[in-house]
């Protein structure tokens, strides 16, 4: 019997596995579908990873290697695809080397990451030529395989991968004509707007969208229009840009097919499993961490969260079950979700960490945590945006006998 099986060898899985071992699990196994560990970090060759964790600015592969180097006494199955996870913690997988296998674990950590939203998810009308890629697919072609997908690009969505690809393609000699964002604010980190768009004079069209893709076989251009407050195109504002490539950076979706298959409840707000303070899902002994739970913007936070999940999985595998009363965390005004959704105060130690995103761009506001009307904690913020994940730490001693905590954005009084 394996103590902890970690599904996914990206940043979340690596950190969870290392932490599970460090917290006493003897037999830890990582199952990764790619031929090497590191997950999406391998194609994220840009820098900016690890500032919190290692106080250094690393590239994605460097960040991954910091964890790969720590895998002593951890078993790894690469090139192995998990097909099924059961609530009884049986994992069924398939690989070239071992064929179809069935493994049992005392605890499981789900760390499958996320995938990109596609053209279909947002129903962009027009022709269906080659040349429309998710930014991540274009990134793989370029950074792993060494091929450019196009020479003249328009990017839809101002998510970080799209912005990073705007710079990357420009540096490789392509012309990026525009970055088009549906919302009136950017979805990516502001520093990426500066160093990926502004540095290269790439115009950012906020509150605009692509209303039509042109080109029978290969993309020949796009029609762009301004959108109103209802995010619907405004007639008469259309203009065309000639291009051979459209990159989509329109959001990420946690990859929860295995989670759903195991019957684990999924939060519609995050598209990830509901989790407790220790990243345990509502299915006992199955934990989840990283982008499969909620989409992060910094890998450093993924690592931190995954270490908690790994430690909790090890603890569970060693026979110590988390228990106690449960507080439900709810999103109030301006907050689109929180992780965790449930807190068991007896399980928390002195503090409980909460991660969440806001619905809008805010300046000079405060984050409040309330038990009904009663203020439990409050945190001032100068600047908040939906593209930037927020975190707060609540002292458990302040929670009292609350059954429900509501996190909201309020004006500073």
């Amino acid at each position: 019997m394996i103590d902890v099986i970690v599904i996914g060898g990206g940043p979340a899985g690596l950190a969870a596995a290392v932490s599970a071992r460090d917290n006493g699990a003897e037999k830890v196994l990582i199952i990764e579908r790619d031929t090497c560990l590191g997950g999406i970090l391998n194609q994220c060759i840009h820098n900016g990873f690890g500032l919190h964790r290692f106080k250094e600015e690393l590239s994605g592969p460097e960040y991954a290697s910091r964890y790969v180097e720590q895998l002593e006494n951890i078993e790894v199955l690469t090139d192995t695809m998990v097909l099924e996870v059961t609530p009884q913690r049986v994992v069924r997988a398939v690989s070239r080397e071992n064929g179809y296998i069935e493994l049992e674990a005392k605890a499981i950590v789900l760390a499958m990451g996320c995938r990109e939203r596609t053209r279909g998810a947002i129903s962009i009308p027009g022709d269906r030529p080659a040349g429309v890629y998710t930014a991540g697919a274009a990134q793989r072609y370029l950074n792993i395989e060494g091929y450019m997908v196009g020479k003249n690009a328009v990017i839809l969505g101002s998510g970080d991968i799209g912005l990073i690809m705007a710079r990357r393609m420009t540096l490789e000699g392509a012309k990026v004509h525009a970055c088009v964002e549906l919302m009136p604010y950017s979805g990516g980190l502001t520093r990426n707007i500066v160093q990926c768009l502004n540095d290269f004079d790439i115009p950012l069209y906020l509150a605009h969208t692509i209303t039509r893709i042109h080109g029978k076989n290969r993309v020949e251009g796009v029609t762009i229009a301004k959108v109103g407050p209802d995010r619907k195109p405004i007639a008469g504002t259309e203009f065309d840009i000639e291009c051979d490539t459209v990159l989509l950076s329109v959001g990420l979706i946690p990859e929860n097919e295995l989670t759903r298959g195991a019957g684990i409840p999924i939060d519609r707000r995050t598209n990830g499993a509901f989790v407790y303070e220790n990243m345990e899902t509502l299915s006992e002994g199955i934990f989840a961490c990283g982008n499969v739970v909620h989409v992060h913007d910094l890998v450093d936070y993924v690592s931190a969260e995954s270490e908690r999940a790994g430690a909790a999985a090890a603890k569970y595998a060693l026979g110590s079950k988390a228990a106690g009363r449960v507080i439900t965390v709810e999103n109030g005004e301006g907050v689109s979700y929180t992780v965790p959704q449930y807190i068991r105060p007896e399980n928390c130690g002195k503090t409980a960490s909460l991660f969440f995103r806001v619905r809008n761009v805010y300046r000079n506001v405060r984050i409040t945590v309330r038990n009904g009307e009663k203020l439990v904690a409050s945190f001032n913020r100068e600047h908040m945006a939906p593209g930037e994940m927020e975190s707060i730490v609540i002292p458990v001693s302040l929670v009292g006998d609350a059954e429900k905590l509501t996190v909201s954005i309020e004006e500073v009084k």
């Binding site: 995938r115 279909g120 022709d127």
Partner: protein, 469 residues
């Protein structure tokens, strides 16, 4: 000199080739694109209609009912994904109720087996998510859903095994009596059969000014993620009425939900773009049948062109002594395909073509679908060929072994979409975002085509803009 040249590699031309290669004939098929099933065949509702819709006594009525019957057998023989889901035509009000009765009577006259009129309660028992406003429905148990491109490929591949000479990427530019002129050469044939789909008028025009008018008609669709599967159990149609034919919501044989189409007459028959208006129409119309339909589970929009004409019936006849034109094959063309092929053989025989069945011919085909195998079968297969142990398309669970296998079929793919049509890699919720670079690599390894020359689909649809950096 060929006995028969077929023009067009859609499901009709392919079915004709399948049927004709059972005989001692020299048969060739010319297709202008780089693969089978790239036109209307790949972009339609994917329904094997039961046959209650066509006017009794029409050619369409006879061929549809016969085609449905044949589809059941052929899909088993040729290993084509097909499921007899049944269909319901839903009525919303008294006027529609009357239409349902009329369709029932038509169906009975056409010889459609098992038709029944369902009352509101029976309909809701069959389709629990149907709108409260639905008042009755015509239930046709023999209707089904199919993989249209795999149907066409199964026909064409089997035909190739039985001696069909297949010419892809070779557009027919003229026909002179017994000679077919293409971009690449001239070919003699005793008989020429045109199955050119939306290009039927153009091809027929090589021989004689057509006596019908093509009214190309575009239909747009949503294809929903597997998470939406189960919202309907059968093909759910709406009653045709003065507002139009309505849209359908149907399971697909691959486990998705398809929603559409609208119907828009277009002047450019090559314009298969989707439009905001068209999609909005489909969206709103679909909610009428199933108000809880989750269209945000959409993974792909597409549009297909239908070869509608000024005539309601299929237009199948000799235009010259050598030239048999299959024109105006719109819905239920897919359902009728094998029956049209039988009919083509009859007509050629009547015209004087000597037709004797081959003593032996292949009438079977099988495809390995990894995810459908038992654990033991999976293990045995991976032991034999480890490539079946590597999952390339994670959404549809398609292995490298299955993709490699497509290159050993009688009509190997030349594009990423060609691979998709043969083994479903890239058909899932991420639409190839994850697997396309890997599939491209596998195409390169199997064919030796340089990566930068590999196509997404048709000629000109290059994936990469140049060679390696």
């Amino acid at each position: 000199m060929f006995d028969v040249i077929i023009i067009g590699g859609g499901v009709i031309g392919s079915a004709a080739a399948y049927e004709l290669t059972k005989y001692n004939l020299r048969v060739a098929l010319f297709e202008k694109e780089n693969d089978i099933a790239t036109g209307t065949t790949k972009a339609n509702s994917a329904i094997i209609h039961a046959g209650y819709d066509p006017v009794p006594g029409s050619l369409t009525a006879r061929l549809n009912v016969r085609g449905n019957e044949l589809a059941h057998e052929i899909c088993k023989k040729l290993d084509v994904p097909f499921k007899e889901t049944g269909s319901v035509v839903c009525a919303f009000g008294e006027e529609d109720d009357a239409t349902v009765k009329k369709l029932y009577e038509r169906g009975v006259q056409n010889g459609v087996p098992g038709l029944r009129i369902l009352n509101k309660e029976e309909l809701r028992a069959l389709e629990p998510n149907i709108s409260e406003d639905a008042t009755s429905a015509l239930y046709a148990p023999t209707a089904g859903v199919i993989s249209p491109w795999e149907y066409a490929l199964a026909f064409a591949e089997t035909a190739v095994v039985n001696g069909l000479e297949l010419h892809l990427c070779e557009k027919v530019t003229d026909i002179k009596e017994n000679t077919v002129v293409t971009e690449k050469g001239e070919y003699g044939a005793k008989y020429i059969v045109a199955a050119a789909g939306v290009n039927c008028a153009e091809v027929e025009g090589y021989v004689k000014e057509p006596d019908f008018v093509l009214k190309a008609n575009k239909g747009e669709y949503f294809l929903l993620d597997k998470s939406a599967f189960g919202i309907v159990n059968t093909v759910v149609f709406q009653c045709p009425n003065k507002n139009g034919k309505g849209v359908l919501i149907s399971p697909t044989v691959h486990g998705n939900i398809i929603v559409g189409p609208n119907a828009e007459g277009v002047s450019d028959k090559t314009d298969i773009s989707t439009t905001a208006q068209g999609l909005d129409f489909v969206r709103n119309a679909a909610y009428k049948s199933v108000p809880s339909l989750n269209l945000s589970a959409n993974i792909r929009n597409f549009a297909g062109m239908r070869a509608n004409t000024n005539e309601e019936d299929f237009i199948i006849r000799f235009v010259s002594p050598q030239f048999l034109s299959l024109a105006g094959i719109k819905s239920p063309g897919l359902a009728s395909a094998p029956a049209i092929a039988e009919y083509v053989c009859e007509l050629l025989k009547d015209a004087g073509l000597e037709m004797s069945k081959k003593e032996t011919y292949t009438d079977s085909r099988s495809v390995i679908r990894f995810k459908e195998l038992t654990a033991e079968e999976k293990n045995a297969l991976i032991k034999k060929d480890p490539a079946y142990g590597r999952v390339v398309c994670r959404c549809e669970i398609i292995t490298e072994g299955e993709i490699n296998a497509t290159f050993k079929t009688p009509i190997p793919p030349v594009s990423i979409d060609g691979v998709k049509r043969r083994c479903n890699a890239g058909m899932g919720r991420c639409q190839g975002g994850f697997c396309a670079p890997r599939v491209l690599d596998i195409i390169h390894k199997n064919t030796g085509i340089p990566k930068e020359k590999i196509l997404k689909d048709k000629e000109g649809s290059y994936v990469l803009s140049g060679g390696a950096l």
